[in-house]
Symmetry: C3
Subunit: 516 residues, 3 copies
């Protein structure tokens, strides 16, 4: 194998290399150029080391070959460098094949760095977009949204990983996908496709940022930081992230340098805000949970980048969370029957349930219309069909265990035992099953609270009653030594407790509902 | 780092390049050649892009270097191309180092494509092989087997992934390994070793193709399709795949373009056939479940490619599923004691149980004799020893809770509480434990049904009684609102129900057995 | 894409290449050299094939390019080779770019092999280090420790993977990290950084080497062996590995050629020793469990390589396992308050619990002081804060179910129902929760046994009583048909049984305690 030896031959590099800006690279394909910029990412591969370079006009990757090992070990993310290399075409992208790279220091580096920062800051400013519906609530949130959109665009320019952690239900998934799609589209236009893997959409099992989830995110981030020089991520909590239960996870990630943004429509706890970089929540501007996370993220995504078909996500989320009022205008926008939207929400939740919290973007994107349209229709039909028969089956058995009582104040309390009268690990899961039973019962009763209970949890749905579940939880914690916690929306939520005290907790809860 | 620059020097490629067929490549090692063929796969690596090329005589990979990025982005799977390159030796394989690749279109491409298709079709035709034992049942299945063998060989030539999903028990594993080994051997002789990773053997936890499994397979397939251009797989369901419970999973994968083949010896439900490309099942030709999936797959595998020692898998499967009758002739074939075969089946199930559904081919192949023979012996001894003492221990405790009653019709009904009288997550699992108790009891009782029950399931084994478990399940669904489902073989199976109705379900079941 | 063709040009390699030893490579950077050595590892990458070469003076990697495929397929681990190549600098390491490699055979190979072996044997001999505290127990263990340190150093020179399997608690983690850090440091000084990934620290969920863990380790080892030519590993069991329960796992791995070393401070069972290469245990030299695994591994790690701050691990382990006596001298060594050490132990266990048995070295190293010091402080504060409030909350609810009785012999027996009076999947887990309750109660009672029970297990803590839990387990197995097993330390342990016999087992246990 004499190949290697055969390669060597001395060639002089001409001093007459033109200095260009990244945006001009297109015109120099195949030519030798010089450019200056900021290193935002360094990726070590089996082949070349790939440096992502940012200047005031754009982003380009630069490949330096060093026999399968890290090239230019002295150059790291955040450094300012001068590069001499050849502009090559790589699939859709351009790339510099590096001949020489030099780290710049001192005044020259500072000036370049400052210039880039100023220009990038301008480029991150989102364009003005009209909201899809007229809404004072949304207008009140506009400033916050603009700030968040800017932050996310900046992450792209800075090659900073973005973790999107969202609830597993239809609203949460639509929200996460809206952000994911718009960020990927923004990368396509403004950065190297290399960076697409920095957008990480992940599903939360619980309705809050669990410790189990944060330690996994943290571990992966530190590993990527160690191995690839990745930055500590910008974390976006979607359809959760506004409760006290989120604080331990948030606090831990902050310690390692993450920034956290919450986009939620659950009733927020004030304590959380001091930990967050931004918090978008309709309750903060006079709105309520009818403004789904899916709506908020759809509108926000349009400030990041326009993606055809994105409004469909808002419409599906409205059905997913059974929202009503002004937000129903999203339904008209999409020109699709109500039935099809309901079916899509069902199909998404059915599939997500069996995906057991894998994000599975390909499958989910297909169901949500970002793949082949004929397949979308067929998939939604099949999956929603199975979802409906699954619901019918489980509702039928759980109704056998239904206990109905009319409380002194006229509220009807419906209790179902979702542990013994339903099948485990089978769609619909307890929360959704309780909701389905509640929907059937509320046709008969105006003032209704439905409780689906298991050995150590209770899920609460209500209609025509002014519940305040977070308040109930706080009171129960004082009144019974049962490890009560939980939360959710004001009128829809869940509580957990120790198994030994289930009876006490449920009867205290009934008493509270009785005195509303 | 001036290496890159130093490389460049213009060289003219001579016009006198010989045009060869892939099968002739061996004679041109180190030489510049031209060839035409169909791209069946494109793999992007950190180094070169690897194109798999098929012509009427064979398969070869072609490596195109493009500095760590996708080379020839305009060329995709299914395209017809002309390649100029150097034939290189890579380990056992040959490979073309691409200098020029051009996508052909129109009539020329069509003619080449047609010619390749015709030739490949011939090459996929399996050779005639005598079955290992004389059997009318097998002869009746021959036509089906030939078709399936041809389909699997074709997948190799077309670089189409094959997912083999099999039951986790000894029969299922032997079946899956038989197909895996013969496909790998066929690849070795007919294609590039690159393609070995397209054969994916996976273990099913449930005795049917679960939704949880299909969404994982689907997600991985779509990811591989997106990342590597992999085709949508050919799925082979082995030792399951013939029941109504399989339909939701099958239907979903079909929507994405998969083809599904079932090779099973469970009593088949007619509804499944309309979803399947092929269905091999002894019940369809007058046979029964004594023809294990391991036998069917061993015989089928011999039509794909001959693998030394493959008949051992059939013999082990006979003991794994306690089959009897004509199929016992497989035992004589292998020249190994019955005890050793029993021990191998036990060792496989013990190891598979603790592997918790990882396919772990290396370990499993060793136990089944495809590794070092001295180690096989030792491994089987150790593992079957632990398996036996595990069985003794669990049988001993579960017998404490045994309830025996003689039904009015003389059938003895044995009920064991496998939840409270056995240890969880410990070998043997409930199904196997019930079988072991049944085997001990049937020495004493001629007409016996053994039921191992937990909070929401019952496992049924029978002897000397004409059970029809699928019929029981159908009736119980009508008679009790308990979410009953399940199935299996006619006389060996399991049913699931909601915990609240366990007592009702079990007493109805006893009544049914009583009236046989 | 004519790049490839353009490269070729014939160059003659001069015959005047100097033959060097690996240790001299530094002086030949950029030069053509010849060297002879033993191949210890072959790694196939997307780019070059990387051969790890050992001679009597050192280790170096050699990269051979063969167009993305395995170069020199005839050369494998253990072969003696002659290499001609250019010495290149790669990051911190040197590497040979291979021009020619030839496998040597016969006498020449044997002589080189022997010479290397002898020299490496000398280099593996650990230096003499004084123990951090004066202790006869440790001195009695010195010989064993020297042997184990030598074995681990040898694994580095031989590119043999090392699996460190340790208990998930603070003591186990500190032990595992001590070995991990010193081996990584030894690699940094003596071998290529390539080899760092051969040190695999893994967390055991159970207090012994479970079958589930060993089959995973085995499967991964065989896969790595198949794919990368990795050797079968040296396995170090830490803070477990000395009980009969470990034998099935150990025996299985041995069959595949692994060697197993145990470093434990649990009361050892004699049967294990015949399976182990070495066994370090204070009970074998007149000590007891106060000599934590963390202490043993810290002292051992210092014979492998000195790592600044390593003594901190010993000190944390003392608090993690509540050790007392001579070993408290480790606390004084580190110059850190007792409170901070307690908090670190708590922080580690809290994080490990939510990591659910991922080893997550980056996060864990930060908490243990091998990262940024300011962050360590903050992390320990946050995590131990959450750990403490988690403990308070669970202790508060579990105390509701406390049953206290004074036995005839004056021993107070405290029983808590950790299944019904605590939350599942929540820190602290049952074992730690039982310990915390015990710690509170022992302030009031001199002679105390605390039992935390669930449906199929009981955790035992004791104070002022001469328990012998392994003996109890052996007796209970005889007396009740309940599948009893378990163990642990003499006075701290756990037992498992079938749910149906919980009452029997617990009352027999109480009777035994009563008759002490």
């Amino acid at each position: 194998s004499l190949n290697q030896m055969e390669k060597f031959e001395v060639v002089e590099i001409s001093k007459e290399v033109p200095e260009i800006k990244i945006i001009e690279a297109e015109d120099y394909a195949g030519k030798l150029v010089e450019l200056r910029g900021k290193v935002t990412h360094v990726k070590i591969t089996g082949g070349p080391t790939i440096f992502t370079i940012l200047d005031e006009g754009g982003i380009i990757t630069a490949a330096a070959f060093e026999g399968g090992e890290r090239a230019y070990p002295e150059v790291n993310a955040s450094d300012i460098v001068k590069i001499i290399g050849i502009v090559k075409r790589r699939d859709a992208d351009l790339q510099i094949e590096v001949l020489e790279m030099e780290r710049l220091l001192g005044e020259e580096a500072y000036a370049i760095s400052k210039r880039i920062e100023d220009e990038i800051d301008k480029k991150c400013e989102p364009p003005y977009v009209e909201f899809l519906i007229e809404s004072d609530i949304l207008e009140n949130l506009r400033d916050k949204m603009v700030k968040v959109a800017k932050e996310l665009r900046k992450a792209v320019f800075e090659s900073r990983p973005v973790i999107i952690r969202h609830h597993w239900d239809a609203d949460g998934i639509c929200s996460g996908v809206a952000l994911e799609k718009s960020l990927l589209s923004f990368i396509e236009k403004n950065a190297s496709s290399e960076m697409k893997h920095l957008i990480k959409r992940k599903v939360s099992r619980a309705p809050f940022y669990e410790l189990e989830d944060v330690v996994k995110d943290l571990d992966e981030s530190l590993e990527d930081s160690e191995k690839f020089g990745d930055k500590i991520p910008l974390v976006v909590l979607v359809d959760n992230g506004s409760g006290v239960e989120d604080i331990p996870a948030i606090e831990q990630f902050l310690t390692f340098g993450a920034d956290i943004i919450t986009i939620d429509h659950h009733f927020p706890d004030e304590k959380v805000d001091s930990y967050l970089l931004h918090h978008i929540n309709p309750y903060k501007v006079g709105g309520d949970s009818n403004y789904t996370a899916g709506i908020l993220c759809t509108e926000l995504s349009r400030m990041i980048d326009e993606v055809p078909g994105i409004e469909f996500l808002a419409a599906v989320s409205v059905f997913g969370d059974r929202s009503s009022g002004a937000v129903e205008k999203y339904i008209e926008l999409v020109g699709v029957s109500r039935e099809e939207l309901v079916n899509t929400a069902l199909a998404i939740e059915f599939e997500a349930f069996y995906l057991r919290f894998r994000s599975a973007s390909q499958v989910i994107h297909e169901i949500l219309g970002f793949g082949r349209k004929d397949r979308q229709k067929k998939l939604v039909d099949i999956l929603s069909g199975y979802a409906k028969s699954g619901i019918e089956e489980q509702v039928r058995t759980v109704m056998e265990g239904l206990k109905l009582q009319t409380l002194p104040n006229g509220v009807v309390l419906a209790a179902i035992d979702v542990e013994n009268y339903a099948k485990r690990f089978t769609f619909p899961p307890p929360g959704k099953l309780t909701g389905e039973v509640h929907d059937r019962l509320k046709n008969e009763y105006n003032r209704l609270v439905t409780i689906g209970y298991g050995p150590d949890f209770a899920i609460i749905r209500s209609e025509g009653v002014e519940l305040d579940i977070p308040k109930f939880v706080a009171e129960l914690r004082e009144e019974i030594n049962a490890g009560v916690d939980g939360g959710g929306h004001l009128v829809v939520g869940s509580i957990k407790f120790i198994p030994a005290k289930r009876k006490d907790v449920l009867s205290k809860l009934a008493a509270k509902i009785s005195s509303l």
